[in-house]
């Protein structure tokens, strides 16, 4: 790898060195920070004149000055430096002073605030840091970098969705993901939710045909849409974790907000500044669930033609195949980013483009993305500035089916004496394992990925307009307007020969499109005034939001007349081969014309054929904020927001909530403590806020279904979509401190928070028919969520050429269900009930992140009860809490070394505690492939007492019945309870990202005529994973990110591990 790097480097230099560079009349140069990293946004002025410019992203500037004049370099947060203009370029390096003291934080409503006055915790990550991880979904680059932020990615497929949660889970049934705001405008981060709730909402076609179309978000994944954002366009990401920070953003931000500020064009004095970088990535899957391949297919030790491996032991001479290795491939992807900056005094532009093309470790799994963005800043008059921007994004994801019936599980239970590569018959059809009837056959994983295909394509345009008017020094009016529009088109195709469908269906095709149109604007007016030592600021504003998502889906079966019942495909009455079949449908899989017209149906709502379903939210809000400070040392802020939301009926539509915060700079009040330089800064802060979380649209409107009784007409369905639903109410307080010690070498931030959510909406639980319905939805539950967040940064070494920075982000959360109605013994999100009898259920008094499932029946002393008839345990077939997914704590450790022109950054992600239901292992066990079943020939007596009536007496009968699982597969198949597969206290220590960069010194670049800056890098992702988890990867989720509530993380079923990635590339400025 290193050799390749050097080769590229030297070959580039050879070409470029032949053109020596000569100094031109305008003076130019590079401004660098410590260790030669380019500094952007540094003001460069000619001393004694009004001439000034700023450095671009590559740290480069150009200014006209004559030799002998003095240039002044300055910026907030850096010291000022002067340099005389000589005959060549003027390169200077600046060092940071008094870190953070002068920073500006972008908070709600695109307001810029001095961190001093914030009474709540916030953390900022630079775009550079995230882009450097080379992760196409920038969310995945945030894990470990912010205390209290958790990313749960679905699995290691290309285009997989990731869910993000700040400070843990508050709502049982509603969305817990934060709001995304780009340059003050709200941007959508939906993941397509394919469940239509019996046709009352959006979703795919529902059909019971082996449940392949609407898969409850289990077997198909759809990229979460914020991943459309190009990571290299991001200047910074501010994470507002508590609702106090987002009380102003309203109910959509009750789970926090991620505020993204994009890069903007700079004044380049009319010069075109170009930046280019690329990355080439190789991916390798190195972790698989372990399987046991010692036994042949069969039952209870006897050979049989089944896909369960409880048959006789293979003889040593049996040829076996490493099917897992033969199936997966090496992934490859490439990224190319280009940026162009152009600016003059009153107008600047930035254009950026990005191309990403990935081929994953699973055959046929690809992800491709194009981004274009153009932004502008124009000062129309002295007091009016506009900042329009437009992004155009296209992405396409081809993805295999995961989870049940997907490639991985089929691969794992594929007979080890059968080569998985022989998936095709001579005519290109399916090579069935001949001992099974077609409907009970198993799809070869290759057959599966080649023939059961799905795809989604998205075209998106995000346009924003910012208007800032500053008529006087004390008043500022700002407007942020944005349109966010996209259209996704997708299909899910099942081959007629797939065993996931009954043969009679002749294959199926599900096509859908989804249109999203979001408009929002925010207009604020802020006035500031000082009265002696007191300062005051008041803001009033209004916000309008209108989001509409339309979805239309069609479903059809019998692809080109294939109606085979015996594994054959037909057209026009005669049998055709797969090759003919493939040519007949001409690989135009998305064309529903390939399904027979009579089978094309749309089931979203049977009574309204040929219309799309849509979901719309409109909300008008007014808000105000008043902040007073005393001598910039004590800051008190109060805000209030009034909402009027279309989700609720007229009489309950208007609601409001307050928030207040206090910040006290102790070190300024008592400057004495700063003496000696030990304590440089001490701030105490606290805030308290209320907020509301609304249900999804239409959740309060019961719908009528058609009835077929005499006279027809309508009747209510089972579900009470309660008219009287109100928003969930969330109350949070947090207390924290910020401390800087030892000449600012050590920064410490500590927060304790406590969130109570009342009136939570429990959806569709069974209740007395007294309500008039069978399933009820009411505001009843409440939860508490509390935690501690710490971040600690320090610099162990600062030398002339060497610097070492360390940062820790610690997070510990605890959550609890405070109340659930007595008649709701367990509330669960049904999407998570993916395999066997374990699901994301929660019970009164338990954690909100619990796993409920079947366990062993036990006596009062806690001993397992054994059935005297067969010596096997008795299963308690009720859902009880058998695990808690919440980790004890997580710790992200960032190390950053800089030595001369080298820098090395890496992030360790430590998770301690938290349980995982290893559904994959249970599936393997039930099918005789798990390592658990390897010792099946060994006789054993299960520890426990007989369920003989004496089990709860003083002398229960100890079990002495010896069993040999080899002859008694029930031992694994039906008598191992789900609790056996909950792996307790799963820890991981992961090297998330490691990047080595070499940045050429400006002097060294002089010989390269066109380069203003150049850096080379190697980045590896997920290189090391140390875990006590027995499965492939403890970071996996049974559901995609669209599943609400706590979601499907901590349920591992049919997921591949995150592959190891190695990226190399270079970054150049021209």
């Amino acid at each position: 790898m290193r050799k390749i790097l050097l080769l590229i480097l030297f070959s580039g230099m050879l070409v470029l060195c032949s053109n020596p560079i000569y100094a031109q009349s305008p003076v130019s140069g590079i401004v660098t920070g410590e260790n030669n990293s380019p500094l952007s946004g540094i003001t460069v002025s000619v001393k004694g004149t009004s001439k000034a410019t700023k450095t671009n992203e590559s740290g480069a500037y150009t200014i006209s000055a004559s030799p002998g004049q003095t240039l002044v370099f300055s910026s907030v947060g850096f010291g000022t430096r002067e340099a005389r203009v000589g005959s060549g370029s003027v390169n200077v390096s600046l060092s940071r002073v008094n870190q953070q003291m002068e920073e500006v934080v972008v908070v709600a409503m695109d307001q810029k605030r001095n961190p001093k006055e914030l009474g709540f915790s916030n953390q900022t990550v630079t775009g550079k840091e995230v882009a450097e991880t080379q992760r196409e979904n920038f969310l995945n680059g945030l894990q470990g970098r912010v205390a209290g932020l958790t990313i749960n990615s679905t699995n290691g497929q290309a285009g997989a969705s990731s869910s993000i949660v700040l400070r843990g889970f508050n709502s049982l049934a509603l969305d817990n993901q934060p709001l995304f705001v780009i340059d003050g405008a709200i941007v959508d981060n939906q993941t397509t939710n394919e469940t239509s709730n019996s046709g009352s909402g959006l979703g795919l076609v529902e059909t019971s045909a082996r449940n392949v179309n609407q898969t409850s978000n289990r077997t198909n994944d759809y990229t979460n849409r914020i991943a459309d954002v190009n990571p290299t366009d991001i200047e910074s990401i501010t994470v507002l974790k508590g609702p106090e920070a987002t009380a102003l953003y309203g109910s959509q931000a009750s789970s926090g907000a991620i505020i993204i500020t994009t890069k903007r064009g700079k004044n380049t004095n009319g010069r075109v500044v170009v930046g280019y970088d690329n990355a080439f990535r190789w991916q390798h899957l190195n972790r698989y669930p372990e399987v046991n391949n010692d036994f042949d297919a069969g039952n209870n030790g006897n050979s049989s033609s089944v896909f369960t491996y409880f048959g006789p032991r293979f003889s040593d001479t049996t040829k076996k195949f490493d099917n897992a290795k033969n199936f997966f491939q090496e992934g490859f992807s490439q990224t190319h980013n280009i940026s162009v900056d152009y600016g003059r005094k009153n107008a600047s532009f930035r254009f950026s483009g990005s191309f990403f093309d990935q081929s994953g470790v699973i055959p046929e799994n690809t992800f491709r993305k194009y981004n274009l963005r153009l932004s502008n800043t124009t000062n129309i008059t002295k007091y009016l500035t506009i900042t329009p921007a437009i992004s155009v994004i296209r992405s396409q994801n081809d993805k295999p089916r995961r989870g049940a019936g997907g490639y991985l599980l089929n691969l794992l239970i594929w007979p080890s004496d059968n080569d998985v590569r022989n998936y095709q018959s001579s005519d290109g059809g399916k090579n069935p394992l001949n001992f099974l009837s077609p409907n009970d056959d198993l799809d070869n994983p290759f057959f599966s990925v080649y023939n059961n295909r799905s795809q989604d394509k998205t075209d998106r345009m995000i346009s924003t307009m910012g208007v800032n008017i500053k008529p006087t020094s004390w008043l500022e009016v700002a407007g942020r307007f944005s349109y966010d529009i996209y259209r996704s088109e997708g299909y899910s195709f099942y081959h007629p020969l797939s065993s996931l469908l009954t043969r009679g269906l002749g294959g199926s095709l599900d096509n859908y499109y989804k249109n999203y149109t979001g408009y929002n604007h925010t207009i604020t007016a802020t006035a500031k005034r000082n009265f002696g030592k007191f300062g005051a600021r008041a803001m009033v504003g209004t916000m309008w939001q209108d989001y509409k998502t339309e979805m239309y889906s069609v479903y059809g079966t019998n692809l080109v007349d294939s109606v085979g019942s015996n594994g054959q495909m037909y057209k026009g009455g005669s049998i055709i081969s797969n090759n003919t079949f493939a040519s007949t449908i001409s690989n135009n899989l998305a064309d529903s014309g390939i399904t027979r017209a009579t089978t094309r149906i749309r089931l979203n709502n049977a009574s309204r054929k040929q219309e799309y379903n849509y979901s719309q939210l409109r909300q008008l809000a007014y808000f105000g904020e008043v902040s007073v400070n005393y001598d910039n040392m004590i800051f008190l802020t109060y805000s209030h927001r009034f909402e009027n939301s279309s989700i609720f009926p007229k009489d309950y539509r208007k609601y409001n909530y307050p928030a207040a915060s206090l910040s006290v700079i102790v070190s300024d009040i008592f400057p004495k403590i700063q003496k000696g330089g030990y304590v440089n800064y001490l701030k105490l802060r606290s805030s308290i806020a209320n907020t509301a979380r609304s249900s999804s649209p239409y959740a309060n409107q019961s719908v009528f279904n058609t009835v077929t009784s005499s006279g027809g007409g309508y009747a209510y369905g089972f579900n009470n979509n309660n008219f009287y639903l109100t928003p969930e109410r969330q109350k949070t307080y947090e207390i924290g401190t910020e401390l800087r010690l030892f000449n600012n070498k050590l920064n410490f931030d500590f927060t304790v928070y406590n969130t109570l959510v009342k009136d939570q909406i429990a959806e569709n639980f069974r209740s007395s028919y007294g309500t008039g319905f069978v399933l009820n939805t009411i505001n009843v539950a409440s939860t508490r969520n509390k935690g501690v967040e710490m971040s600690l940064g320090f610099t162990p070494v600062v030398k002339k050429d060497f610097r070492w920075d360390v940062k820790f982000n610690f997070n510990r959360m605890k959550n609890k269900v405070l109340t659930l109605p007595a008649n709701v013994p367990e509330f669960y999100v049904s999407d998570t009930w993916v395999y066997a009898n374990a699901r994301g259920g929660l019970v009164n008094g338990g954690p909100t992140t619990s796993i409920t499932g079947y366990s062993y029946m036990r006596n009062n002393a806690g001993q397992i009860l054994i059935n005297p008839a067969d010596g096997l345990p008795v299963i308690d077939a009720t859902f009880k809490v058998i695990g808690d997914r919440n980790p004890d704590f997580t710790l992200g450790t960032l190390n950053s070394f800089k030595y001369k022109n080298f820098s090395l950054n890496f992030l360790w992600d430590l998770k301690v505690g938290g349980d995982i239901f290893n559904g994959t292992d249970m599936y393997l066990t039930v099918n005789g492939k798990s390592k658990k079943t390897a010792d099946r020939e060994t006789p054993r007596v299960i520890e426990g007492v007989l369920n003989d009536g004496l089990q709860n007496t003083a002398n229960p009968t100890k079990n002495t019945i010896s069993v040999v699982p080899y002859n008694l597969q029930a031992y694994y198949v039906s008598r191992m309870a789900e609790e056996e597969f909950v792996e307790k206290n799963v820890n991981w220590f992961r090297l998330r990202d490691i990047t080595l960069t070499y940045q050429f010194a400006p002097d060294g670049l002089k010989k390269l005529r066109y380069f203003k800056s150049l850096g080379l890098f190697v980045t590896a992702n997920d290189l090391i994973l140390i875990t006590n988890y027995t499965g492939a990867d403890p970071a996996s989720s049974s559901n995609n990110a669209s599943t609400r509530g706590v979601g499907g993380w901590g349920f591992d079923y049919g997921n591949i591990a995150t592959p190891i990635s190695v990226n190399i590339g270079f970054r150049a400025g021209f």
Partner: protein, 552 residues
């Protein structure tokens, strides 16, 4: 200043635009994807279908399959049937609690909405019909279950638990609903229209509000008639409402069916829907006529000794021997000689002890309530006359009682010949002469009023309500504690009726008879258990607790 004005004007403009937002917000409220409001004319058909047996299989007919065994209309074809033995419903089963579901769910909110939207739209006829059905439904519910959910709490979509009230509260509420119903049915003008009402009740009264009023009076009459054991019993109230109620078969309240060959709009008891096939204990819907009715119809009951009732061929099934025989509780049909085993109600011969009633499942073999298109009576003119007869008899006005009694039989025969004559062998059809002879038979209709006794009235009522009125018959029988004797006589009211005892009574009953059905398991036992404990409904023999209506 100019700049400040400019800024302020932007803000003001923005604020002025806002009022339009209220409408936009309102526009976005309603669910565009499914119907959240439908015309009330489209709600009534489903509600009416739920009075008998709706497309989902719920309604009175569903429960009658079980209740009919308590009163021995019919019995289980195998031995050891739960309901033959007067058991309550067991464990997690919802058997015999279908009315609970239809009352709260199928009729429930649909009817509440119909009434609400009907009042908003001035369709008072729909409001009256809605309240009429609610009155009937509450009365039917409480007659089956005794204590039930408080009407003041019912249909509150935000409640988690519901408290129960005693039956007297329900009876008062039923009468209140009846009065409100009449009040609304009396209204004219506005949007009240017979043609419009017919859109909703085409399969009931076809838009005739006057008939709906008679139905309401019938419910009123029932509510007073049920209280014969109470000191407050007032025979005049019963007679008063009977006189206002259904007087002719043309006015019979009955649910009709479109029967287009699909299950949803076909009679629940018809062969197409095949609701008599299962034999699992606890379900036991495979039924045969009882010995009690067979004997009553073939002159073996001392009350109508040696009278072969010409209605038998309409109501009952013959056996291979050509006679009418039936089953005894808990014995099954196997103990009967093969040739004496009655055919199933679908006309399947039982010589070889055929369990499956649905075979041959041919509508042409079915009669009476068991055809795909047979209408289901809810309240008949005949029943009204028997209520009047009993009330007049109790009052001492035996002349009126005899007249009503005679008219009751006559109306029932007319109903059978006009509505349920299909597939009756022509040779055995009731002709006017046969009817006249039957009514002239002193063993049936006493020649003098003084000879009339309670057994006459109650047994003829039993026949007139055979199967379709099983719930009302159960009310009657419970009033007479199944085998009470007529006061001051040595005559059992239901002569010949043998109450199961000993091994023929379910063990959980602790030797007691069944008096109520416990609330629906999957509504109440799972989700409202605390309240059930309060009223003792968690006890295994809760079903043997006598209801308020039959207590003194």
């Amino acid at each position: 200043m100019k700049k400040i004005l400019f800024s302020i004007s932007i803000l003001v403009t923005a604020t002025l635009v806002m009022p339009g937002c209220d409408k936009q917000i309102d526009d976005a409220y309603a669910n565009p994807n499914a119907d959240v409001k439908v015309p009330i004319e489209q709600l009534l058909p489903g509600i009416i279908s739920s009075m008998s047996g709706n497309s989902a299989g719920h309604g009175t007919l569903n429960d009658i399959r079980f209740v009919g065994k308590y009163v021995q209309n019919f019995l289980f074809c195998n031995a050891s049937g739960d309901y033959d033995r007067m058991s309550g419903t067991r464990t997690t089963s919802d058997n015999a609690a279908s009315v609970w579901r239809t009352h709260f769910y199928d009729i429930g909110q649909n009817c509440v909405q119909m009434i609400q939207w009907g009042s908003e739209e001035g369709k008072w006829d729909y409001v009256g019909v809605g309240k009429a059905i609610q009155a009937w439904s509450w009365l039917t519910l409480t007659d089956l279950h005794g204590d039930v959910i408080n009407p003041a709490e019912a249909f509150n979509t935000s409640a988690l638990t519901f408290s129960y009230v005693t039956q007297d509260v329900i009876y008062n509420y039923v009468r209140q609903l009846c009065r409100e119903s009449i009040e609304n049915l009396n209204k004219t003008g506005g949007a009240v229209s017979s043609a419009n009402l017919a859109l909703g009740d085409a399969y009931f009264y076809n838009g005739d509000a006057a008939k709906w009023k008679k139905f309401v009076y019938g419910v009123m009459a029932r509510s007073f008639n049920h209280l014969t054991n109470k000191a407050s019993y007032n025979a005049d109230s019963v007679i008063y409402y009977c006189n206002l109620s259904i007087a002719a078969n043309a006015e019979n309240a009955s649910v009709k069916y479109a029967s287009t060959g699909i299950s949803g709009n076909t009679n629940f008891f018809g062969p197409l829907r095949g609701n008599f096939g299962s034999v699992a204990i606890g379900t036991e819907t495979a039924i045969r006529q009882s010995a009690f009715i067979a004997d009553l119809e073939s002159g073996l009951n001392i009350s109508f000794f040696n009278v072969a009732d010409p209605r038998a061929i309409y109501l009952l099934r013959k056996n291979t021997a050509g006679t009418f025989k039936g089953l005894s509780p808990n014995k099954g049909q196997n103990v009967i000689a093969a040739n004496d085993r009655p055919e199933s109600f679908f006309g399947a011969s039982q010589v070889s002890n055929t369990v499956n009633n649905a075979t041959p499942g041919n509508d042409n073999n079915c009669r009476y309530l068991f055809r795909n298109n047979s209408e289901t009576p809810i309240i008949t003119a005949s029943e009204i006359q028997f209520m009047k007869a009993e009330a007049a008899y109790r009052k001492g006005d035996k002349t009126t009682a005899l007249a009503a009694y005679t008219l009751g039989i006559s109306l029932n025969i007319d109903m059978l010949t006009t509505t349920y004559g299909t597939n009756v062998p022509p040779a055995e059809a009731i002709t006017p002469t046969i009817k006249a002879n039957f009514l002239a038979n002193p063993a049936v209709v006493p020649t003098t009023a003084a000879q009339l006794n309670l057994s006459h009235i109650m047994l003829q009522k039993y026949i007139a309500l055979y199967i379709h009125g099983a719930i009302e018959t159960w009310v009657d029988m419970r009033r007479y504690h199944y085998d009470d004797f007529e006061a001051g006589t040595d005559r059992q009211v239901y002569t010949g009726f043998v109450v199961p005892t000993g091994a023929d009574l379910y063990p959980d009953n602790n030797g007691k008879r069944v008096y109520r059905i416990r609330p629906r398991y999957n509504s109440e036992y799972v989700w409202n258990l605390n309240e059930l404990r309060r009223i003792g409904a968690d006890k295994l023999d809760y079903h043997t607790v006598e209801c308020w209506f039959s207590q003194p």
